[in-house]
Amino acid sequence: MRTAPTGASVPGVDAPIVIQGLVKTFGSTRALDGLDLEVRAGEVHGFLGPNGAGKSTAIRVLLGLLRSDAGAVSLLGGDPWRDAAALHRRLAYVPGDVSLWPNLSGGECLDLLGRLRGGLDPVRRDALVERFGLDPTKRGRSYSKGNRQKVALVAALAADVELLLLDEPTSGLDPLMEAEFQACVREFRDAGGTVLLSSHILAEVESLCERVSIIRDGRVVEAGTLAELRHLTRTSVTAELERPAPDLAGLPGVHDLVAEGERVQFEVDTAQTGAALGVLVQAGVRTLTAQPPTLEDLFLRHYGDAPDA
C-alpha cells in the first residue's frame, strides 16, 4: 500500500543497478537531484564524487534504507524499497563508517552478519580472516577503524552473493590490506559478480574499475570508461622548438599557453592533441614532453570546477 513514488522497476533493462532521475530530499536539502546510474552485470563500477555529493545517500536508497522521492530505481530487477529483504539475499554491503556493537567480538559480528545474510561458508570465512590478518576475538569497542572495516569486508566477501555495494570500504586499510582487498574484488568479478565501488582512492579506482560515474551535487556529471573520460581531459605539453610557433595560440583546444622564445608550455584538449603536435612539428621539435591526463586531473576538474566547466 505504497503512496509515495518509489523505484518502480525500469522495464527492458537487465543491468543489476539502473537508476533514472532519482531524487531524495532531506528537509530543504536536495541530496539527490535527478541521479542516473547504470551498473552493468560483471563490471566493477567506480562511484566517485566529492564529500557530500550524494554517494552514500544513493547507496542507502539502493539498500532500501531510504525512500526515494522521485525517479525509478531497479536493483537486481526488483524494487529496493519493496523487496528489500529478498534482494539483500543476493547482495552484500560494506558501509564507509563501520560501527560494530561495542560488546560483541569481531568473530561474533562476522558470524551474525553472515547468518543473517542466509548463512556463510566457514571455510571461506576463516580463509578471509587469515588473509586480512583479523583478530576475531577483540571486542567491537577496541577495534581501530581499519579493523572494523575488515570485519565488515570479510562478512561481505564471505557471503555467497552476486552484487557488492561498497561505500568507501578501504579508507582505513593499510597498503598491504588494500592490495588484498583489490585481489578479492578481482576474484569476485572474475567469478561473475558485479561491484559498485564508491571510493576516493584513485589508484584503487584506476586498477579495479572498468567504468566510473562521477557524481556532484546529487547528479552524475560524467559517466563512462576511464579511457572515454581521459579523452575529455587535457594533455600537458612542454617543448623546445627550433623557431617560434605563432600559430599555436590560435589553435582550438589549446589552453594556458606560455611561450618564452623557442620554449613553449601549454595544455591541450586530448581530442586536439594531433593538431597541436602538427604545429609543433612544423616549427621543428628539439625536445618534447607530453604528460597524459592523470586521474587526479580528471577528478580535480570535476570536483573543483563548476560541473559544466
Binding site: A84, A85, H88, P95, G106, R115, L116, P136
Partner: protein, 527 residues
Amino acid sequence: MPEVAAGTGTLLRAALRRDRWLILWWSLGISALYWSQAVGIDGLYASQAELDVAAASMGENTAMIAMAGPARALDTVGGQVAWQSSAFGAIAAGLMSMSIVMRHTRTEEETGRDELVRASAVGRLAPVLATLLAALVANVAVGTATAASLVVYPLAAADSIALGLGLTLVGLCFTGTALVAAQISASARTCYGLAGLVIGASYALRAVGDVSAPALTWASPIGWYQGMHAFSGVRWWPALLLVGATALTLALASALLQRRDIGAGLRAARPGPARAGQLLSSPLGLVWRLQRPTVLGWTAGLWLTGLAYGTIGDDVESLLGDNETTVELMTQGLADPVAGFYATALLMLALITSGFAISSALRPRAEEEAGHAELLLATIVSRRRWLASYVVVTVGGVLLVLAAGGLGTGIGYALVTGDGGAVLEYVGPALAYAPPVLVLSALARLVHGVLPRLGVLAWLPLIGAVVVMLLGPVLRMPGWVQGFSPFHHLPAIPAEDVSVGVTLALLAVATLVSFVGQFAFWRRDIG
C-alpha cells in the same frame, strides 16, 4: 591554572552550551515538584483542623513513610512539602547529575570524542573538572529555583533555603558517585547502570531505615538530606555529611581516573569468542544478547525494591489506626488495608518498570543512530522482523521485571510474617499491572516510528502518570485528567479483583498503538 586543569574554562562553556536546556527543564521540573505540593496542601485542606486530622493519620502510615521519609511536622504546609517532595526531589537531582556526568565523561570516551579533546592543549583532569563544574551549576540552579519558589510562596525562608541547599548538596553527592561509576567500566551503558543503582539503593536504604532500622537511613545521602529537618526545626550539620561524602567520592574518582588509561575501564577488556554462539543467529537472539544486561539489572533492582516493600509486612495494618482519611488515602479506600497498601506498592513497582519499558522501546533508535541498524537491514532481515525482535524483548522483559518485583514483595512479606505461602502471592497481581506499562512502551514505540528524533517525548506519559498518582488525589484533579494515566483505569490489585474488561482494553490500546508505531517505522527512512 595548574597544568592538569588547563582548558577547563573552555570545556565548561562547551558543556553548559550543550546542557543549557537540560538544566533549565530539570530546574523548572524539580522546583515545580516542591512548589506544587505547597499549592496542593493549601488547596486540599481548608482549615488547620483538617490538616491536623490528616497529618495525624499520615504520620502513622508506614507505607507513606517508606515511600516519602520520616514524618515530621506534617501539620504544617512546609512540613508536608518537605515530606512529600524531598525523597523524589533528591532522586530527580541524582538522575540529572548522573546524566550530566555520563554525557560529558564516559559517553565522550566511548565515542572517541574525548580523544579529540584531549589531543588539544587540555589538562588530564580538565574534562572531569569541567563536568563537575557543569553539574555544580545545574545543582545550584535546581536548589536555588526550589528555595526561591518556596520563599516566594511564602514559606519560612531559612527552612526553604535548607530544603534547596540540601537538594543542591544531595545532587552533588550523586555527581560524585556518578563520577566514580564513570571510571569503572569502558561501557557507558554499564556506568549508567552503576550510577543509577547507587541512587536506587540510597532510596531503598532510607525506606527500610525510616520504617524499621534508623541506622540504614544514615547510610543514605537521601537520609542525610531529610535529616536536615527542613520545616521541623531545621539543623544544618547533616549538610556536612553530604559535603564530606561528595569530597570523598570526588577524591576516589580522581584517584581511579589517574591510574587508568583513557577509554578503558578499571579492568582490561578480556578477549571475546572468535565465533558466535547459536544465540547470534537471528535478530531476536542479537536483541536479547544486547538487552540482556539491562533486563537482568532491572529484574534484580525490582526484586530488591519489592523485597523492601514486602518487609513492611503486616505493620501497615496496626499503624493505619482508625483515622478514615488515612485509610482512604493509603489503601485507596479499600476494606483490607494490607491489600490496599500492597496495591499501592505494586503500582509503584509498575511505574518503575515503565522506566525499563520506555527505554527498551527506544533502544532501536539508539541502534539506528549508532549505524548498527544499517548493517543489519542490509542483510535479509526485514524492517518488520528487526523491530518485532525489540517488541518481543520489551514485552518479555516487562513481564519478567514485574514478576521479579512481585516475587521480591512476596519473599519480603513471607520473611517478616513467617507466612511461607505468601512467597508467590504477589507475582500474579504484579503481572496484572503489565497492560498499562505496555501502553507506555507502545507510546514510546509510536514516538520512535513517527518522531524518531524526539525520543525524549516518550518519557512524558510516564511523568504524567507519576504526577497523577502522586498529586491527582491531593490536587483533586478531575477524573478525565487522571484518566490520561493508563494506570488510573486499573483496579487496586490485589485489594480489588482484576477486571478482565479493563485489562483487555488496555492490551488492545497497547497493541494498536504499538502497531501504528511499527507501521510508521516500516515506511520511514532509517537513521
